[in-house]
């Protein structure tokens, strides 16, 4: 029973969306089945696709960068001694607890101060900033399962520090690195608040574009696009889960 109520509440909006994407008319009255909005989606929606492209670029680049920095940071925090370590660690998690709006404002102010023009680069940097702690957290969680002695064993058996990093530390943290990357990617893709502050002309991401499009009245093209997006997301989520399972088993 509870299941069905939950399912209906969750699915109903999606069903409405699905239904109206096939509506021939523009308004919320059903005027007949049509694929016209799907057609328009692929013929007359250049701006939308530009936004999709921007989102993908931002998500790929920022999540890659935060995965690299976050993973190395986690390894450093977990297994190497350096000065001010506790402060560094807590500071790294600050973006995680700050309200997004505060984060957005502060990043914007900072960019203004250093004179960085708003555009793709600023969006990518901002996204890297707020996705970094997630990667850090996930890789650290993974590393905490292991004892430092395996690092010493590697050195003892003849590995240099670099060989130890490549042959031992990175392989054992891989599940954490991958889930960190996926999380960062998803968070970047769907971010609205921070992006709103730091995007400039030509660097609108998908959430920003949809929001501004809706403000000028509902375009059923967006409905059609959303349906498409849901399908792609589900497909990606399923394959990502399979991949993770496979990697963890291996």
């Amino acid at each position: 029973m509870v299941f069905w109520i939950t399912a209906i509440f969750l699915m109903l909006p999606l069903l409405v969306l699905l239904l109206y994407s096939f509506n021939a008319g523009r308004s919320f009255t059903w005027t007949g089945f049509s694929l016209v909005w799907y057609e328009k989606l692929f013929t007359e929606s250049g701006q939308l696709w530009q936004a999709v492209w921007n989102s993908v670029i931002v998500a790929v680049v920022s999540s890659l960068v935060s995965t690299v920095i976050g993973s190395l940071g986690a390894i450093g925090i977990n297994w190497y001694r350096f000065s001010y370590k506790p402060y560094t660690t807590s500071l790294s998690f600050l973006p995680l607890v700050l309200p997004e709006i505060v984060l957005g404002v502060s990043i914007l102010v900072f960019f203004n101060m250093i004179g960085l023009p708003l555009g793709m680069v600023s969006v990518i940097i901002a996204h890297t900033t707020f996705t970094l702690p997630f990667v850090l957290l996930m890789v650290m969680a993974r590393l905490s399962e292991f004892d430092f002695s395996i690092i010493e064993a590697s050195r003892d058996l003849g590995a240099t520090e670099f060989q130890t990093l490549v042959r031992v530390i990175i392989p054992i943290s891989m599940p954490g690195i991958l889930s960190g990357f996926l999380t960062a990617f998803t968070l970047s893709l769907e971010d609205f608040v921070v992006t709103l502050f730091v995007s400039g002309p030509g660097s609108s991401t998908l959430p920003l574009y949809i929001f501004s499009a809706i403000r000028f009245g509902v375009t059923p093209t967006i409905n059609a696009f959303s349906v498409l997006l849901i399908l792609v997301t589900v497909a990606l989520a399923v394959s990502a889960q399979r991949l993770l399972k496979y990697l963890i088993k291996a």
Binding site: F146, I150, A153, R155, D156, L157, G158, M174
Partner: protein, 381 residues
């Protein structure tokens, strides 16, 4: 490093001498090693024995290169190894928790050291199988460490540490995580392995039975200091300090003042037991305070007073306070009339003990020869 092929095809590597001189190591205010010196010979099975926290692991970590001593010298043969990082030292370690790589199979764990250097695929495979053969793990090559039993993990750790053909193998309590029966078996295996590879083994343990059982020589440590170095029987029969006497096996120690010296027979007036007779070499003076030790298995226990035909130099009367039966022997705790508690072990040599059974609360005599006692040390006033 000299390689000598043997009949079994196992390559014998002759180990190195290890010299440790005046090594001091502190952690903050705490002195973990207070000037340790050791001379370990090529190919020796050498044990570091001492209670937990006495600095054994710290010394091993200094040898392996994970810690730097505050001062002191560590040499392999005649070269200083302290400037070398761990990966440059011809020394490998079997870690206390084995520290196997969880992401690699048994095969890859053992192959790890060879993969770091340019080794031809053929040579690598041959050497890994040689090691698998040596530690009897051929059936488990494809398993991950998590799928192995404790004893198997330990063998992977040993194979992995040996494949580089180090001059010295360090083993940090490699048996402590295993159950008692398995420990005995693996100890024998380890001894055979040592004979097969011939390199220097430095074996850390807090278990005196392990150390005495397999070592050529043992260093007994306490509180960051080496108290005595010697062959197992020397450590047991001629302990250098009261700590060593009491830590290695069980013993009864008595403190007293020498009252008479007749050649090598010495009479000690002990607290609680009266005059005890002991034979001891060396220069002893009347009036010196000494610690005397008599091992429980060297004491005879009987219901009747021992006849004088038997050579019993020390005979005391008491009451059995407790008897613990172990099958092969019984342990008696005897309250001597004077109030002293004495441990006596009686080995059950015959099928069902002949003679009257000694039970709890029985009146008994305990007796031992002057030859079997030992003066451990002088007590400094």
């Amino acid at each position: 490093m000299t390689d000598i092929p043997t009949q079994q095809g196992v390559v014998r590597v002759i180990g190195s001498d290890v010299t440790v001189q005046g090594v001091i190591k502190s952690f903050g205010d705490f002195k973990a090693l207070k000037g340790v010196s050791l001379q370990i010979n090529k190919g020796e099975f050498f044990s570091l024995l001492g209670p937990s926290g006495c600095g054994k692991t710290t010394l091993l970590r200094i040898l392996a290169g994970f810690e730097n001593p505050d001062s002191g010298v560590v040499m392999l043969d005649s070269s200083d190894i302290l400037p070398l990082p761990p990966n440059k030292r011809p020394i490998n370690t079997v870690f206390q928790n084995y520290a196997l790589f969880p992401h690699l199979s048994v095969y890859e764990n053992i192959a790890f050291p060879l993969r770091l250097r340019k080794t031809s695929a053929k040579e690598l495979d041959a050497r890994v199988w040689e090691m698998l053969d040596l530690v009897h793990l051929k059936e488990h090559v494809n398993k991950k460490p998590q799928q192995l039993s404790g004893g198997q993990r330990q063998r992977v750790a040993i194979a992995r540490a040996l494949i580089n053909r180090p001059n010295v193998l360090l083993l940090d309590e490699p048996l402590s995580a295993l159950d008692a029966k398995l420990r005995q078996q693996l100890l024998v295996d380890l001894d055979e392995l040592h004979d097969a590879v011939g390199i220097t083994f430095i074996y850390v343990t807090h278990d005196q039975a392990e150390a005495l059982g397999v070592s050529d020589r043992v260093a007994v440590m306490n509180k960051g200091e080496v108290l005595q170095v010697g062959a197992p029987h020397e450590i047991y029969e001629a302990p250098a300090t009261t700590f060593v006497a009491e830590f290695i096996g069980e013993t009864n120690t008595l403190e007293g003042t020498i009252t008479k010296v007749e050649g090598d027979v010495i009479y000690i007036d002990t607290q609680g037991l009266g005059i005890v007779e002991v034979t001891a070499e060396g220069n002893w003076q009347v009036g010196e305070r000494v610690v005397h030790s008599i091992r429980p298995e060297k004491i005879r226990i009987s219901k009747e007073r021992p006849s004088h035909e038997q050579k019993d130099d020390n005979v005391f009367h008491g009451k059995v306070h407790e008897r613990i039966y172990f099958g092969h022997q019984s342990k008696f705790y005897v309250n001597i009339d004077s109030g002293l508690k004495f441990k006596v072990f009686k080995q059950h040599v015959n099928y069902m003990d002949m003679g009257p059974l000694i039970k709890w609360d029985d009146e008994v005599y305990v007796a031992w020869d002057a030859d079997d006692g030992y003066i451990v040390e002088r007590v400094r006033a």
